[in-house]
Symmetry: D2
Subunit: 307 residues, 4 copies
C-alpha cells in the first residue's frame, strides 16, 4: 500500500456529487477521444479492469458490469412468458445485447445507439464486454436516434430496454427520459410487453432522478416496479424500473424464477437468480416513501434540471 507505487500515480476522478468524490487508480488509458456526441475514454483501472467512460462517468467496468447488465435485462425478460422480439435503446458496449441473446426464446433484437463511433470503439477495445454479441444474426444495430426510431416505426416488441447514459447538459440522452418518449415506448410494445429502464443512482439523498423517472412512468403505465442493486463502479446503489400494462415481476416465487432461468437462459448467470430478484425488488422503507411521494413528471417541456 505504498503511496508512491508508480502503478498508482494516475487516477480517474468521478464526482458522485460536488462534495463526494471517488478515485480509481488507472493502469492505462487505452483510448481517449471525442465523438460527435460525447467524450469517450477507455481506461484500465487497477480495481475494476477496463472501463468505458462516457462524458466522465463510468458506464461499464469489466469487474462489475455483470451485475448491472443482468439486473437490467433478466427481470423484464423472465417476467414475460416468452419474449421473442427485443428493442434496446443505447447499450453501446454490447453487453445488454449479450444478455438478451442468452435467452433461447429471442428471435430478433434491434439495438439503436446514436453514436456509431462509440460503438465501434467499444467493439474494438472491450471484447470482454460484448463477447461477440454483435455478430449474432438475431441482432441488428442501427445508429439512429432511438426516439425517432420508436416514434416512426410500426414494429412492436415484447421487451424494450432503455440502457442510456444519464441525462447531462448537452449529452445525447435528455429527450429519452420524458413522458413523451415513454409514450412512444408504450406504443411500441407488443401486447403483454414490458419496458425496462436504467434509472440512475438511488443512493440515500441522491435519488431525485430515480424518483422522477418512477413518477413519469406511472403517468404512462398502470404497472410500475422500481428495483435496485449495488454497482460499485457507479458509486453505490443503482435504480431500475419495470413498466407494463399488466405483468407483475413480483408474481413469481423465488423458486419459480430459478426454474425459469434454468429453462430459458443459456449459460450461467453470476448475479441474478430468484433470491437476488427478491432482494432487488425489496427496497428500503425510506426509498419506497420517496418514490411514493414523488410527483414531478419529466416532459419535453420540463426536462430534468441537469439537461
Amino acid at each position: 500500500m505504498e503511496e508512491d507505487d508508480p502503478s498508482r500515480h494516475i487516477w480517474f476522478r468521478d464526482f458522485i456529487d460536488p462534495n463526494f468524490v471517488q478515485l480509481y487508480a488507472v493502469r492505462d488509458v487505452i483510448y481517449s477521444g471525442k465523438t460527435k456526441f460525447q467524450r469517450v475514454d477507455i481506461i484500465h483501472t487497477n480495481s475494476f479492469g477496463k472501463c468505458l467512460v462516457l462524458d466522465g462517468k463510468i458506464q461499464s467496468s469489466e469487474k462489475d458490469e455483470f451485475i448491472y447488465h443482468e439486473a437490467l435485462v433478466h427481470p423484464a425478460m423472465l417476467t414475460h412468458p416468452h419474449p421473442q422480439t427485443v428493442f434496446i435503446a443505447g447499450g453501446g458496449e454490447g453487453a445488454t445485447l449479450r444478455e438478451v441473446l442468452a435467452h433461447r426464446s429471442v428471435e430478433k433484437v434491434v439495438m439503436v445507439d446514436i453514436d456509431q463511433e462509440a460503438v465501434d470503439i467499444c467493439q474494438r477495445f472491450l471484447p470482454s464486454l460484448h463477447q461477440n454479441s454483435f455478430k449474432d444474426n438475431r441482432g441488428q444495430v442501427l445508429h439512429l436516434d432511438a426516439r425517432e426510431y420508436l416514434s416512426g416505426s410500426r414494429d412492436r416488441f415484447d421487451i424494450i430496454i432503455i440502457d442510456l447514459t444519464d441525462p447531462v447538459e448537452g449529452g445525447p440522452s435528455c429527450q429519452l427520459y420524458t413522458q413523451q418518449f415513454y409514450r412512444f415506448a408504450r406504443e411500441s410494445l407488443a401486447p403483454g410487453g414490458i419496458l425496462s429502464v436504467q434509472a440512475g443512482s438511488c443512493n440515500l439523498g441522491e435519488s431525485t432522478i430515480f424518483v422522477a423517472i418512477n413518477s413519469t412512468l406511472r403517468s404512462v403505465f398502470p404497472q410500475v416496479f422500481p428495483y435496485q442493486t449495488h454497482v460499485p463502479s457507479f458509486g453505490g446503489l443503482w435504480g431500475f424500473v419495470l413498466a407494463s400494462q399488466q405483468l407483475n415481476p413480483l408474481s413469481q416465487s423465488v423458486e419459480e424464477v430459478d426454474e425459469q432461468i434454468s429453462a430459458r437462459v443459456l449459460g450461467d448467470l453470476k448475479f441474478y437468480d430468484g433470491l437476488t430478484h427478491q432482494g432487488m425488488f425489496s427496497l428500503p422503507r425510506y426509498l419506497r416513501q420517496e418514490i411514493s411521494q414523488g410527483k414531478s413528471i419529466i416532459t419535453d417541456e420540463k426536462l430534468l434540471s441537469l439537461c
Copy 2:
C-alpha cells in the same frame, strides 16, 4: 460546483482499498486526538454531516447512521420473541444503545466499550447520534475489554450485539473476531438468545472478512444468517450476521415483521421494516456462493491478516 469554492478545500480521504479512494469535502474538523486505543476525529462533512472517524475510517455519519444502526439492532431484536436483556460490545457513539432502548421489552442493557475517552468525545460532540441514550436508567456503560467481560461474567443476555471497529493492525478489536470470542458470546446468551455482528464490507471482491466471519460463526452456532445493506459513508454494501441456536429471522413474513415493529418499537423507524428485512436477507447469487464456499476460520492463533 466550483472547484475552488473555499467550502470544499479540506477533504477527508478514505481508502476503500489501495486502488479505490473516496473523498469527502470537510466543512470543519470538530475534534482530533488520540486516545489510549485509537485515533479519534469528529469531522463535519458537507455530504454526510458530522462523522465519527476512528483510525481513519468513518464509523457513523449523521446522514446515514440510521441505516447502519437499524440494520444492526432490529433484525435480532425482532427475531427474538421478547428480548429483555441486551449486551453491546463497542458501540461508543451510543446509537446502537439508542436503537436497543427503543424496544419496550428491554429492561437492562450492558454496553462495554473499552475506550472511555472515545465514548466521552462522542457524548460531547455527537448528541444527534446518542440522543441522550446514555442517560436511560436501563443502560449501564462499562469501559472494559468486552471479551474479558463476557468470559468472566455469569450474566446471560437475550441479545448480544457486536458493534466493533473493523480489525486493523494494532487496533483494539482483533481479539473480538475469533472463534474463541464467539464461544464466549455463545455461553453468555440466555436460552433462545441471538447474536448480531457487524461484519465488514461485502462489496464485490472485498468480502474476505465478511466471508470469514460467517464461516467462523458457523463453527460455533448451528444457525447463521448473513445479511447486508448499503451504507454510503462506509463505501458501499455492509455485511451483518445473525447467529443463534435455533431462531430463524426468515421465519416471519413481511407483514409479521411490520406488526412486530408496531407492537414493540417506540417511535418511527426510517430504514427498517418487513420489506427492508426481506431485501437485506436476499443476498445476490455471487455473494451467497462466496459465503457457502468460505472455509477459513478466524482463531486466536490465526487472526485475520489485517491484525
Copy 3:
C-alpha cells in the same frame, strides 16, 4: 509512506490553477469560520506546520513564512537609509509587523487591516507568527480600509508595505491593486520613501497579475523593481515589487547589504542577506521579457479579471 496512515487522511486542497492542484496532509483544523470579510481557517499541516488560510489560499505557514516576510520587508527597509515610520496595509498575522520592528531605526508603525476578527484569530492561534509584535509600543493596529486611511490621512511614511490577500471575486482587496490606490500610496510616502508590494505568483505561465502590478506601478512611480523568491506553501515562485521616486535597491553591493543588516537589524535573519538580495532581483530572462512587455494597467474602472 503508508497511504492509510490515519495521520494523512485529511487533506487541504489548493488549486494553483484548475489543472494543477496541491494537497497538504492536515494534522488538525484549529479554527474554521467566516468573518465579515472572508473565510478564515487555521490548519495544522504535517509538512508546513500551522497555516493561515484566507478564502481557501494559504497566506502563511510556520515552516516557510520567514521567507515571505523577510522578502517582503527587508529589501525596502534596507534600501532606505533610515526608515523611521512604516505603514502596513493588511498583514493580519502580525509577521510583517514583526520583521519591521526588528529594525532599530523604526519609531512608529501603523498597520491597517480591515478584518479585526481575522487579526484576533491570528493573535490567538498563531503566536509563532506574530511573536508578540502586537504588543510593541511602536505599533498601532487599526481596523479600517487601508485605501480610505491613506487617502484621508496627512501622515507620511518612509516605508509603505502592501501585504494583502490576492484579489479574488468578492474578496476584500480588489480596490487595493489599482493605479488610483498606488497614487494614494505615493502621496503618503515621505520624501525618499519606498513602497513594497506583495505581487502574486510569478510561476511560469501564471504571472499575469504580477506583470500587471508592475506595469500599473510603472504608471505611477519612476523607479520600479520586481523581484521574486520561492515560497513552497504558495505553490512556487512569488513576486514582489519595490517602487520609489529615486532609490534603487540594486545600488548596494552584496557586502553592503550584509553590513547594513548587521548594523540595523536586531536578531538573526534566516533567509535574507546580501547574496539572497542579489538572487531575488536577478529574474530569469523569460520573466523579465514578460514584465517589460506588460502594458495592462489596473484601474478602479478596469479591475483585474479575478475581481
Copy 4:
C-alpha cells in the same frame, strides 16, 4: 473551473513527499509501459503539455523543460572557454543533447543512457523535446551503464553532464551518485574540464540529496558551485552543481555571459542569460548554510537512504 469537466477527470499524482502531493489534470496517456529498467509513461497534461514520467516522477514537460535543460547545460558550457567534446550520462529524452549541440564549438558528444527502450519511446513520442537532436552527426548514443563506460574508457571530455533520474530504490541510477563515480568522472575530464550534475530538489526542508551531492563532490573536486532554479513540473526549486579543478562560473560578469552566449550559441535561449546566471548562483542564506554544514558523503558502501 467546473469540477466535473470531463477534460479534468484523469489526474497524475506526484508525491513531492508523503505529506505534500501535486495533481496534474491529464488530457491523455500517450504511452504506458515497463522497460527492463523502469516504468515509462508519456502523459499529456492540461497544464504542462506532454510529459516524460519515469518511475512515477516527471522528468521533462513540454512547458518548462527549457528551464531545466538550459540550466543544466549552459552554465558549464559557457564557463569553459571552448568546449569541443561533451559526455552526457542519461538524458534519454534528447533535450540535453539538443542544448549541447547548440554550441558552435562542439565537435563530438557521447550520450550514454542505459535504457534503449526508454530512449526509443522518447524519440517516437516526444519530438518537441529532442527536436531531431539524435540525427546530428556530432552525436553518438550508446546504451550502456554510464559508470562502466567512464571507468573503462580512455576518452577525455571538456564537459561531462550528469542528467540522471533521482536515486530511488531499485532504480537504475543509485551507483551514479557516489564518490567513486565522481572520481571516474574526474578522471574522464580533459584538462580544464567541467562536470555539471542535476542534483535533486532544493526546496526548503527537502534538500538532503542536494546537500549530500555537494559534500560528496567537494570530497573529489577543489571547485564546487551549487546553483538552483524553479522548475514547476518538478514541484519547486531544483538544484544543480558545477565541479571542476579550477574554473569558476562566478568569474564572469552578467555582461560577459551575455556576450559569450551571442558569440557561441546558435538560436535564442528563453531562460538563460547573464542575469539568470547570476540569480541561479545566488542561493538564499538558509540553503547556503545547509550546504556548507553538509558532511555526509555518498559512497558505494553508503548509498543514499532512498536506494
